[in-house]
């Protein structure tokens, strides 16, 4: 057993930290958040040049062939920096599924565009029901000759407003078991029949995406016809682990900010961090953050090794969701009034942590998965 990162991973972490801190001062994060596009195309290009878009992908597609655990390090640092933009959507939700189940032709077509920073991808999975189960998929794809026609509404689609391609999960056949009739299509995001509306949200850029008789070729099918759900499960699992990495990064930063503030802020002629009540809040935050990191690394490591990890991911995300809420609440308590203003940086983390916690399944779905693993 070894819980340490390699020297290369530590170098990546340090480099990412320096890069992200210098590129994303909170003033810029605010500007980007308030802009319509929600990312900086210039920095996006720089990140592509650094090889970050292709970090976990094979070299033959322009990637650097690193592991998911390497990516976890990067995601953690992106969380710490509150980095805005469609990195998660493009790499985790868009490119990975193509690598998983795409044809060689699809990989050749899309992955190099991703790794060069020339294409933004996303996944259109959830619908107005707001849930992640197969039975909730009502967007339909109907065959007509060699082509398919997609109709329906996807909701909470991240970064669809800037996406070049949308992976759309559709019902292609009505089955007794709904998961046996779902298919993923790769759709041009700005093609005929496609419409999107940005949602007003707490933090993330999410969209309503309307498919109005969108025509796609059968070559657009990603993976097997009617077998899409297996891949969706894999994507959700990976996305949960990736969210945990970002949450762990954010929570670590929140703890660091809180400890720093407790050392500097004086009341009653002494730093508030010298009061035991504040000290114990900080100690509780530390325990929660360390628990996040250990459980997240375990899940990320298992994914990296290609080992079954649904339960470890569920444990990590369930912990991250609960601990994240405790950490941010205590952070606000220690920061006091300044923390609930737009002047201070804490709100970036409060909003993003909650948005990340709400993504990819609720706490009870993780508990249920764990319960099944216990033989209940």
């Amino acid at each position: 057993m070894d819980l340490s990162f390699t020297e290369e991973q530590e170098i990546l972490r340090k480099f990412a930290q320096d890069f992200l801190t210098s590129k994303f001062p909170k003033k810029l994060v605010k500007e980007i958040e308030e802009s319509d596009v929600g990312y900086s195309p210039e920095i996006w290009k720089e990140m592509a040049e650094l090889g970050w878009m292709g970090l976990p992908f094979p070299e033959k597609y322009g990637g650097t062939g690193m592991t998911f655990l390497d990516l976890a390090v990067l995601l953690e640092e992106m969380g710490k920096a509150c980095m805005p933009g469609p990195y998660f959507s493009t790499v985790i939700l868009g490119a990975f599924p193509i690598l998983d189940v795409g044809t060689e032709g699809q990989k050749q077509e899309y992955l190099p565009k991703v790794t060069k920073g020339e294409a933004i991808l996303t996944l259109a999975l959830t619908e107005p029901s707001g849930s992640y189960d197969a039975a909730s998929t009502e967007v339909k794809a109907v065959p007509s000759g060699d082509a398919w026609t997609i109709t329906g509404t996807k909701l909470f689609v991240p970064d669809a407003h800037v996406a070049d391609y949308v992976l759309c999960v559709t019902q292609t056949e009505e089955m007794a078991k709904p998961e046996e009739g779902l298919t993923i299509f790769i759709v041009e995001a700005k093609g005929p029949g496609m419409g999107h509306t940005a949602l007003k949200t707490m933090a993330d850029k999410l969209c309503e995406v309307v498919f109005d008789e969108v025509k796609v070729s059968k070559e657009s099918i990603l993976g097997e016809l009617n077998q899409g759900w297996n891949e969706v499960k894999r994507v959700i699992n990976r996305a949960e682990a990736a969210k945990c990495c970002q949450i762990a990064g954010m929570a670590q930063k929140v703890l660091d900010m809180t400890v720093e503030y407790a050392k500097e802020r004086k009341q009653f002629d002494r730093p508030i961090g010298s009061f035991q009540a504040i000290q114990h809040y900080c100690a509780d935050m530390l325990i929660d953050v360390e628990g996040m990191r250990l459980s997240t690394y375990q899940a990320a490591w298992k994914l990296s090794e290609g080992l079954p990890c649904a339960e470890e991911v569920a444990v990590a995300k369930a912990w991250a969701v609960q601990a994240g809420e405790r950490v941010i609440s205590l952070a606000h308590q220690v920061h006091s009034a300044i923390g609930v203003t737009m002047e201070h940086d804490l709100h970036y983390y409060t909003r993003r942590l909650k948005a990340s916690e709400l993504s990819f399944g609720d706490i009870d779905s993780y508990r249920e998965l764990v319960a099944q693993g216990m033989g209940l």
Binding site: L3, Q276, W319, E368, G373, L376
Partner: protein
């Protein structure tokens, strides 16, 4: 990074399990809550010793196995999973041997370590006093040097070991004229010295869990000093880190966990299996999530020890977290048992052999012994996070 145990370690786990299951098949003992501190069985300890499983991490030259702390964690994890009666050797194996190894003289190592390894040395801890709990350094028991010995006077309390303990490990004041942290020393003595008397303390479950130990004009050879005179505080801080590091902080009442899961699977209420009730499923799954995180904390502590570093803040963290988990486990188990939760172990209708009942009461002490959760959080705040002292 690699979360796997080696194949050899997995084999070792299997070996320990086979041993313990064999013992249970022969009905040599029944699973016990708090088996590491409340179940004294010298014969069991001798059989464990015969396997070479006491002093597992100590150097071979003193009779140990020279294995790593992860191996020891595997061993203790299984002992606790099965609720084995391991109290006789637990303290000596966990922390006293380590202190002797680090601070003892060659003679002390040659004499005492093999005795622990053979399963013959049962050590009671004498740290706390009636007026020295969290503020341990204010302790008053004195050992005044006179010729070739110390004269010991005072009182210790919360000493585990019952009638079986034959040694006492003590933290005493050897210099009353310096700042309180600076005049302390560690002694290891046999319990049969003239002038030592004990008096049991009955705990909340009704058991003789601890003793008060009184010292009146006890003559202790100066050979009993461990380490440097008046350097005891520094030495004991490290020992406390080991005391806090163990898997017992997470799994002292583990048999309750398995018991209550089984109970939920075998019990119907309102015509429905409890295990099918979404609320019960949630409660049990939540415990499992918290347990798995705690387990990672525990393995991390062992890895720190394998690096040769005292796991000061890591052990403080894992103990503060994990004892709170054990308390929740006991509490949730009683919630699920409902009315049955209040039945004492001897009751005709009792469930889980009364383990949940016992654990609920005894778990109130988990967050107190070996450093209260508040003291542990002070360690995290001051030494790990660098917050200023008051």
């Amino acid at each position: 990074m690699d979360f796997r145990l080696t194949e050899e370690q997995e084999r070792f786990r299997k070996e320990v399990r086979d041993f313990l299951e064999g013992e249970m098949k022969q009905e040599l003992w029944e699973p016990t809550i708090d088996g590491w501190i409340m179940a004294y069985d010298p014969e069991f300890t001798k059989r464990v010793a015969a396997k070479g499983w006491i002093g597992l991490t100590w150097p071979k030259e003193y009779g140990g196995q020279g294995r790593c702390f992860i191996d020891r964690l595997i061993l203790t994890e299984e002992m606790l999973r099965y609720g084995a009666p391991a109290s006789c050797h637990w303290f000596a194996d966990r922390q006293i041997g380590g202190s002797i190894l680090k601070y003892g003289t060659e003679e002390q190592k040659r004499e005492l370590l093999p005795k622990i390894i053979r399963g013959e040395m049962y050590v009671g801890l004498g740290m706390s006093e009636p007026e020295a709990g969290c503020d341990l350094a204010s302790l008053k028991t004195r050992a005044i040097k006179k010729d070739d010995h110390y004269v010991l006077d005072g009182q210790k309390t919360w000493t585990s070991g019952g009638k079986y303990m034959n040694y006492l490990y003590l933290l005493v004041r050897t210099d009353p004229d310096v700042a309180k942290h600076r005049g302390l020393s560690e002694l290891i003595i046999t319990k049969d010295l003239p002038g030592i008397t004990t008096s049991p303390i009955i705990d909340i479950t009704g058991n003789e869990a601890w003793n008060e130990v009184f010292f009146e004009n006890v003559h202790v050879s100066k050979e009993c000093l461990i380490g440097k005179e008046n350097d005891g505080w520094r030495q004991v801080m490290e020992q406390l880190a080991y005391e806090r590091s163990g898997m017992e902080r997470l799994m002292a009442n583990y048999p309750v966990f398995e018991g209550i899961i089984q109970f939920a699977k075998e019990t119907k209420r309102g015509g429905k299996w409890l295990s099918q009730d979404p609320v019960i499923r949630r409660k049990l799954a939540q415990l499992k999530i918290e347990f798995e995180v705690g387990r990672l904390f525990m393995y991390r502590v062992a890895l720190v020890m394998d690096e040769g570093r005292s796991p000061e803040w890591e052990a403080a963290m894992s103990k503060a977290y994990a004892t709170a988990f054990e308390q929740r486990l006991a509490s949730v188990a009683l919630e699920i048992l409902g009315l049955y939760g209040q039945l004492r172990p001897q009751s005709k209708w009792v469930k889980l052999n009364g383990m949940a009942y016992h654990s609920y009461l005894s778990s109130k002490g988990y967050s107190l012994q070996a450093g209260t959760s508040e003291v542990l959080k002070n360690i995290l705040a001051l030494r790990k996070l660098g917050l200023p002292t008051g």
